[in-house]
């Protein structure tokens, strides 16, 4: 098979330089006798699509764990990483977008990842190539898709056009929308209503909407105390950390937050910022924030790996390889989750490590780890300083052929606390470095 790729103009990765300096030939892939310092026989070409928590971690760890033997190209359209976790603090106004933003420079500089700022538009799974919007084509031995989510605009009548989407924001992908939602809240007069529509689960970041309600309430309490936060939940109850969030709303934000269950959004009227429902009455808001229903990012469709409800990608949790398409792995929010597994940034980073270990093993002619373990730790900021968590540990179950939460492990905070707030910020600092540095 012909292998084509975009030539890198990057300086020689450090590991390769050291290998050359030691007189061990061009790459670790040759595994010459007497060159044991390289430690890995892995070679081949991996293309990673998407530089979020999943994709960036996979790119870094494959380079690290193959001792630079595997060629890794990361395709990411955005110039910088902007974290969704912690982005509700920007909506609430206690942090700015710069706090959430991390550059991609360390991936090429520290790890020799070939970084291409472009958008992958199509995958040919027979030829094993990826086409880029900029015209290039990348060949792969293994493809890792970490495409995140796309919104299902057709599920919300009246929101499937650019005009409505510019007025009724999602702010569910951190970046310009996060800042724009903050501006809408700043412009809202005191006494106004902010309404937040939550889709039926599963969606990216289960506790995220409820954290957002807290952050907007935190802002209103200080700056616009006559204003209301109205949660219009498509689900029958708060889907994550329910008791802890309810306590915050009744204690910390009494008279500001109102929660309404079973409000599945049918449509919107953008002109009057009104949310419409099949059964319940319309709700008119000063700021209407709609988190639309979601599915795997479009490139997953092109690769033919969308296998669950025409929305998500089923994977083998020992490798994160698609159950349908060989040599294509899927990470992060785009997958059909295992029981008790949330769609979270932390989880995506963990998916990436299991996948990276498996890909390095497979490209070394070794079997992948038969017993993967994953953790999830998710902090939600209830004020600017106080936090609550949910956590879990997931182990491979050979009988059920999936990963399952370990009985008796994991759990929730006993109460919100400032100490957990400091851990939430430490979590962010550490996972951003683990993913990108």
């Amino acid at each position: 098979m012909k292998r084509r790729g975009i030539e890198s103009s990057l300086p020689m990765p450090r590991r390769e330089f050291l290998t050359l300096a030691a007189g061990c030939g061009i790459a670790a892939t040759l595994a010459l006798p007497g060159c044991a310092t390289t430690g890995s026989k892995a070679s081949g070409r991996v293309v990673v699509i998407g530089g979020g928590y999943g994709g960036a971690t996979a790119a870094k760890y494959i380079r690290m764990w193959s001792d630079g033997g595997i060629d890794v190209t990361l395709v990411e359209p955005n110039p910088s990483f902007v974290s969704c976790p912690m982005s509700n603090l920007v909506v609430g106004g206690s942090r700015n977008l710069a706090f959430l933003t991390v550059g991609y420079d360390n991936l090429p500089q520290h790890h020799g990842v070939k970084l291409i700022h472009d958008t992958a538009t199509a995958v040919d799974v027979d030829k094993r190539t990826v086409r880029l919007a900029g015209g290039g084509e990348l060949a792969y031995d293994r493809l890792i898709l970490s495409p995140g989510i796309d919104f299902m605009w057709d599920q919300v009548t009246g929101l499937d056009n650019a005009g409505a989407q510019a007025k009724i924001l999602h702010a569910w992908k951190a970046g310009p929308q996060t800042v724009a939602l903050r501006r809408q809240l700043e412009a809202m007069p005191d006494g106004g209503v902010y309404a937040l529509s939550i889709p039926v689960a599963p969606f990216r970041c289960p506790p995220g909407p409820y954290e957002r309600a807290c952050q907007v309430a935190w802002y209103f309490k200080r700056a616009k105390p006559k204003s209301k936060v109205l949660i219009l939940d498509g689900n029958g109850d708060v889907t994550s950390k329910a008791a802890l969030f309810r306590k915050a709303w009744s204690d910390e934000y009494k008279g500001i937050v109102e929660y309404r269950a079973n409000h599945v959004l049918a449509g919107v009227d953008a002109a009057t910022t009104t949310a419409k429902f099949d059964v319940q009455d319309d709700v008119r808001a000063d700021v209407l924030n709609v988190i639309p229903p979601q599915r795997a990012g479009a490139i997953a469709r092109s690769a033919g790996v969308v296998t669950a409800n025409d929305r998500w990608c089923d994977v083998d949790f020992r490798t994160f390889e698609s159950v349908k398409v060989k040599y294509v792995h899927v990470l992060g929010d785009a997958i059909q989750v295992a029981p008790g597994m949330p769609k979270s940034g932390h989880m995506a980073n963990q998916h990436a490590k299991v996948c990276a270990a498996a890909v390095v093993a497979l490209l070394s002619g070794q079997p992948p780890n038969p017993t993967p373990v994953l953790t999830n730790t998710c902090y939600s900021m209830v004020t600017d300083k106080d936090s609550i968590h949910v956590c879990s540990v997931h182990q491979w179950d050979a009988e059920k052929k999936t990963v399952l939460p370990v009985p008796g492990s994991g759990g929730l905070s006993s109460a919100m606390s400032e100490l957990e707030g400091t851990y939430a910020f430490a979590w962010a600092r550490n996972i951003w470095a683990d993913t990108l540095a």
Partner: protein, 104 residues
Amino acid sequence: MRLSMSIAAALLALAAAAAGAPAPDANLARNLAATCTNCHGTNGVSQGGTESLAGMPRDAMIRKMQEFKSGTRPATIMHQLSMGYTDEQIAFIAGWFAAQKAPR
């Protein structure tokens, strides 16, 4: 230390083969330790706010994890996470981090 971990893994593989079970992963300790590094830093070198695990003596880490498990060590979250690992897994993790270079 890396070498001795490899030998341990090889011995485990032999034992598993004898028992008819699938061979355990040659990088089991490394892969288990990577489940900690989101919060404790790549290779156990923390960026601050959490404890660096790199270079922590093996026995000290095993003891800490067992104290988290039994509830005798105060914690906000580690008492819940430690319960997700078997004693054997904790020993692998502790051995791997002990072999890493401690941050300055």
